[in-house]
């Protein structure tokens, strides 16, 4: 009895504990994304805007080393034209070599080149950024997440909620604020509402109006030039860099599952027909009435 009471007490307190923990690091709000769900696709215009944000803001400190320029024109991504990509690549200086004289040299980028990193190595990156190297962004939405807790980690499976990394990144970019009273931010740190522990090395990276967006006919930006919109756009772009075949994956998945369901249906009726030869399928066991115990 004592043991059972302890077990119940442990279970109750065990479930209560994450609630306290959640109070420390707030849960990022869940946003609507064009790429969520079984038929999700990227919004090309959003990826192109997000790329602009990356290029004008993030790229000064963060690499994108797993992405090649040519990826930007591949189907399922921002789908810039090949000419645009060639022109873009040519703006970058790529170190190549050694040449016949044995020297390294710089040449304009080609579509096949990967994005050059802003720092020659991690130590240089750390030295230039207060001791902590800014992480490469290629995989960021897949490399970050937040605790979902019971029972959401179960419902997530059925909702296909796999945008937790993206939601976290938007929350983080929006999460710079004044520290609450009594909270001391250590030297070189910055207060962020959504960063675990609240002290992040990266200063607030972007402000309203910092990146110019394409204009519509009335001369107004197509989408607001706000931190929130920048955050969503750059996160959508990074979701694509992290998962460049996301659209193909979801499209193929629908076809595969549809095929398998039809195949399973045909097999089911084949099985029924086969088993009819022995009087139909019978499974399991019967529990005879308790009256005639041996």
């Amino acid at each position: 009895m004592m043991k059972r009471t302890l077990l119940i007490a442990a279970a109750v307190l065990g479930f209560a504990a994450p609630a306290f923990a959640a109070g420390e690091t707030p849960v990022p709000p869940q946003l609507k994304w064009s790429f969520q769900g079984p038929f999700g696709t990227f919004d090309r215009a959003q990826l192109q805007r997000g790329f602009k944000v990356y290029r004008e803001v993030c790229a000064s400190c963060h690499g994108l080393s797993y992405v090649a320029f040519r990826n930007l024109s591949q189907p399922g991504g921002p789908e810039f034209s090949e000419a645009q990509v060639r022109a873009l690549a040519a703006e970058y200086k790529i170190q190549d070599g050694p040449n016949e004289a044995g020297d390294m040299f710089e040449r304009p980028g080609r579509a096949a080149d990967h994005f050059p990193s802003p720092f020659p190595n991690e130590n240089a990156a750390a030295a230039a950024n207060g001791g902590k190297a800014p992480p490469d962004l290629s995989l960021m939405p897949k490399a970050r997440t937040f605790e979902r807790g019971f029972p959401w980690w179960i419902t997530d499976i059925f909702r296909q909620y796999s945008e937790n990394g993206a939601d976290y990144l938007v929350a983080l970019l929006n999460g710079y604020e004044e520290p609450p009273q009594g909270f001391t931010v250590p030297e070189g740190g910055h207060y962020n509402h959504y960063y675990p522990g609240h002290v992040i090395a990266m200063p607030k990276p972007i402000s309203d109006g910092q990146v110019e967006y394409p204009k519509n006919e009335a001369g107004q930006p197509q989408v607001p030039e706000t931190v929130d919109q920048y955050a969503r756009d750059v996160t959508a772009f990074l979701t694509w860099t992290a998962e460049p075949h996301l659209e193909a994956r979801k499209r193929l998945g629908f076809q595969v599952i549809l095929f398998l369901i039809v195949l399973a249906g045909l097999l089911y009726f084949t099985k029924k027909k086969v088993w009819a030869r022995v009087g139909g399928e019978v499974e399991g066991h019967a529990t005879p009435p308790m009256t005639h115990n041996p």
Partner: protein, 426 residues
């Protein structure tokens, strides 16, 4: 069944010539065509076929991945990203392989708990069962080493934590660990030997699977009643009856598998493993893959390092002794009203241990883990031996056929002429 000589008769002259020299066609025929199967098997008995499919799927996808993967600490992470981005359908092969490991464990756990529920481990199937435990241990080793290969943060730190466990072994522990590492910490030599072993172990699994199937074909399959086949009417030939059912079940399982691969491919992994391994930065929580969590909870429940390692090892090794720890003469839990309750408590405790394994080892989680661990062992060491003496089982049916007829509503049973001829070719 080895007691049943094959009814296979080669038709062609070449067939006769070949069969008299290597009777492999007769072996296949007696094992997978004429082999008598209890007619009342449920879908829980299709997981053997599902597991065979998963093993083949993992080996095939793994062979293709190995063509592009680079087992080098400086290049492994990048080579995985190369597969994901640049190799044609590389993302598909990798997601199939990574999620396939989880699916393999889903299937094996259902298979194992089906065996627990219906007493399949009892005489005369002890060797068959112990071979199954051996396969499970090999699977765990393979899955663990496979998770290290992408060389992400969780790969590196998972490898560090798990290999460090061996250092708890007195006298030889440190030596074993340095052999596992190939150095003084987890590094490039570790990755190389893990890759080598990760490629080797699946073929060892395949070998033990052959023994497992061989051992199955001696006593034949257990069934939901737990009583053996008594006459031809209790059984149907493996082909086409079990074959078509297995194929159907495999395809349904493939739908489940595909859902993860195409829609939630990273759900069962860790976000940290998309960060390249960094020996200088420890992740805030080092958590193994979900299928190891119950054992991880047992490991951490014991405050002493060696004690934890022993408890974790014992949690699996104790399975080997189940045929002798369980004193009940009745196989199927369907006829064991008391044990049925304890079985489900055990299932809940295993789930709880899994959940606790995912929590940080602090506060109440530790105490809950300790209670669950104690119950886990009590199930084997107290419940199983004692229940056999105190429990009064329900009366068993006289035959599988009788049991099956009771299941059919209206009592019409099976048309007399339709009873199976188990040795027909189907």
């Amino acid at each position: 069944m080895s007691q049943h000589p094959t009814t296979y008769v080669p038709k062609s002259a070449f067939g006769k010539w070949f069969e008299s020299r290597l009777p492999i066609a007769g072996l296949v025929h007696s094992s997978f065509i004429a082999f008598p199967v209890p007619r009342n098997l449920t879908y829980f008995w299709t997981f053997g076929a599902i597991l065979a499919f998963m093993l083949v799927a993992q080996i095939v996808t793994g062979v293709f991945l190995a063509m592009y993967y680079t087992p080098n600490a400086g290049m492994a992470f990048q080579s995985v990203e190369h597969i994901m981005r640049d190799v044609n359908y590389g993302w598909l092969i990798r997601y199939l392989h990574a999620n396939g490991a989880s699916m393999f464990f889903v299937a094996v756990y259902i298979h194992i708990f089906r065996n627990f529920y219906y007493g399949s481990y009892k005489a005369p199937r002890e060797v068959l069962y112990i071979l199954g435990v051996v396969i499970f241990i090999l699977m765990m080793a393979t899955a663990f080493m496979g998770y290290v290969l992408p060389w992400g943060q969780m790969s590196f730190w998972g490898a560090t934590v798990i290999t460090n466990l061996f250092s708890a072994i007195p006298l030889v522990g440190e030596t074993i660990v340095s052999y596992l590492w190939g150095g003084y910490s987890v590094g490039n030599p570790t990755l190389n030997r893990f890759f080598s072993l990760h490629y080797l172990l699946p073929f060892m699994i395949a070998g033990v699977v052959i023994l497992h199937i061989w051992a199955l074909h001696v006593p034949g399959q257990n069934n939901p009643t737990g009583i053996p086949i008594k006459s031809g009417k209790d059984a149907v030939p493996f082909t086409p009856y079990a074959t078509i059912k297995d194929i159907f079940a495999v395809v349904v399982f493939m739908i489940f598998f595909a859902y993860w691969v195409f829609y939630m491919p990273n759900y069962l992994g860790h976000a940290d493993n998309y960060i390249p391994a960094n020996p200088a930065v420890t992740p805030s929580h080092i958590v193994p893959e979900w299928y190891f969590l119950p054992f991880y909870a047992i490991l951490r429940a014991i405050p002493d390092k060696l004690g934890g390692v022993i408890a974790m090892g014992a949690a699996i090794v104790i399975w080997v002794f189940m045929p002798w720890l369980d004193t009940s003469k009745v196989r199927s839990t369907a006829y064991r009203p008391l044990y049925k309750q304890f079985f489900w408590i055990f299932v809940i405790v295993c789930f709880l241990l899994g959940w606790l394994g995912s929590r940080p080892a602090e506060g109440w989680y530790v105490i809950a883990s300790q209670i669950c661990t104690a119950y886990y062992f009590a199930h084997f060491l107290i419940v199983l031996p004692v229940l056999g003496f105190v429990e009064r089982p329900l009366p068993l049916p006289n035959s599988i056929l009788e049991s099956v007829m009771g299941v059919q509503k209206g009592g019409a049973g099976i048309p007399a002429g339709a009873n199976a001829e188990p040795h027909s070719k189907g």
